[in-house]
Amino acid sequence: MNPKRCAACRYLRRRCPKDCVFSPYFPPNNPEKFACVHRIYGAGNVSKMLQQLPVQTRAEAVESLCFEATCRIEDPVYGCAGMISLLQTQIQKTESFLARTQAEITVAQIKHSQNQHSEFM
């Protein structure tokens, strides 16, 4: 067994060629990463996706695939949509808070100007 096989080839129990498409992104010290991606997408699909991308973008693509796969494993029904929902909820709450606070600022400014006017009078 070649101890220098990437995590993907170790998982797939095959020889790791020098031009392995997976090896730069799935180091042998993190086998769970490829296991996660393989479980959701399959090695063949991931390989095809990476081969269609420029080399300089593959690392980011792998990270996003890992994230999506992790989300899907954690929540098989909603996957990443759960995270999106959480963020949208937070945005709505923050926007509501902003609107309320800005209304309070307006009221406070009106009161302040009224006080100044009454003092002047």
Binding site: Y41, N45, M49, E60, D75, M83, I84, S85, L87, Q88
Partner: protein, 258 residues
Amino acid sequence: MSGGGNTLTSMGGSGCGGGSSGSGGGTSGGGGGGPCGACKFLRRKCVPGCIFAPYFDSEQGSAYFAAVHKVFGASNISKLLLHIPVHRRSDAVVTICYEAQARIRDPIYGCVAHIFALQQQVVNLQAEASYVQAHLASLELPQPPPPPRPQSQPQLLFLTPPPLSITDLPASVSPLPSTYDLASTFDHAASPSSWATQQRRFVDPRHQYGRSLPSSSATLGLGGGNSDLEALAHELLHRQGSPPPTATDDSPSRTKSR
């Protein structure tokens, strides 16, 4: 159509094209209605009990299944659906379709681009919220007005998230809130390409806002039944634009399961 589960009905091409002859248990198949969209794409006989039939109709379903097949693969989706309760599978199919389409449109980041955009929006809103809160505090107290950017933030409701990159994405995701409206899930706050010009900073919202979510997602208030999912399907199609490009290069012309 039986009421065994939530199915997406076809609305002139919306959503994933729910089966018009499906039960929630997936017990329908080709029958008299012809093959489902998935089996039509795979060019195989749609057997009774086809797991895809309730969720991919023969009209629009093929286009959506093509995207799903290209990204995930039919067998992976089949295995995934088998592990999901029948009454939750339609939601799963919708989100899977969404992720597949997002990945085809953006092969590098997929729907994570959307998450980045939303996260950036959250950061911006929080900064604005902390500023106006400080401004309000200064108005309510007899003190000089605060500087344009407060030097200290004594009453922040939200913490400023630490800058993170995509490599810091969390390994786990908490369950959904108790009320979950799929129709609003795919509201693109920003175009998928706009975030690319911004610094990519992703903060796990659960770390920032606390784990206030219930421990189980089983109590999701989908309510509405078909109406919510139809709204989602329409929303998904509207926001994603035209149906996904057909993955003709993935047509399994040699895959014929009889």
